[in-house]
Symmetry: C2
Subunit: 145 residues, 2 copies
DNA sequence: GAAGATTGATTCCTCAATCTTC
DNA sequence: GAAGATTGAGGAATCAATCTTC
């Protein structure tokens, strides 16, 4: 880029792409689903009652409403989540984590966790890791508002 | 994630997704092509003779061989790049930047550059930006080898 | 009419198979 | 047989349009 001062953004783009490719490759080799699936299961597992409205889930995963519909279609077909109608507002739907979903998430973490360490955290000092997290969270926070 | 010490990786994932969405949105609003197109044009513009072998271009963009074939198909149809057969090894093909490609890249930069500043660099100090770039380059470098 | 979610049509990505040249 | 690139088939992301409920 014709830069005045070089931004960290291109490096982030490259690091992200390489990481994602390597992680997906490890998951696939282990016969496991992809990162989008993991993310959905994990976000649901953190939510109160392990359930979330569709648009809330989409927002936290940073994907579109149509994408979340189709993703939940697949996860539901695989028995990892279940849809439930909202009681108070019958337009709404919840995605609810199933026991199978929780189990699979845990198994995926067994591959995902060492991958994050080997490919990412291993190359950072404790201080760098903390600083990185602070910077990136700040940037994300600014875009959420 | 069930973490011992929180990694910066989830924050990177979120920041990346939000950034990409916001940048694509600005480019689309300006009637311009997407980031993949920009990246290809820019990588070619940096290369000696503004030309690169297909697999070299794919490697630098961190996309697959089939993806680069199809991306260059589109860019060539739009007159932004041109294919050339390799003289020495006739299996190979070059993607060569055209004048129209260079012009469009410049116009896109007029939208892309302020977006990077507004959404990313504006929230970082000079020192943070430098440190971020160093960390992410190191991580990318480790995966390249 | 607006919000929540889904669907149809299109575009794009990916895997495996293919073609060509080395 | 292997490297470079492309292609066909299937899966997934996206936009706009739709359906339902508020």
């Amino acid at each position: 880029m014709p830069d005045e001062r070089p931004s960290a953004w291109p490096a982030l783009l490259t690091a992200h792409a390489l990481m994602e490719r390597a992680i997906e490759s490890r998951l696939a080799s282990a016969g496991l689903p992809d990162l989008a699936c993991y993310d959905a299961l994990w976000v649901l597992e953190q939510a109160p009652g392990t359930r979330l409205r569709m648009h809330e889930l989409a927002s936290r995963m940073v994907i579109t409403r149509s994408s979340i519909t189709r993703l939940i279609d697949r996860l539901e077909a695989a028995g990892l989540v279940q849809r439930e109608r909202a009681g108070d507002d019958r337009r709404g739907a919840f995605a609810v984590l199933t026991a199978a979903g929780r189990d699979l998430r845990r198994r995926m973490w067994g591959v995902y966790r060492p991958a994050i360490h080997d490919l990412f955290d291993r190359h950072l000092s404790e201080a760098e890791s903390t600083a990185l997290r602070a910077c990136l969270s700040r940037i994300a926070e600014a875009m959420r508002t």
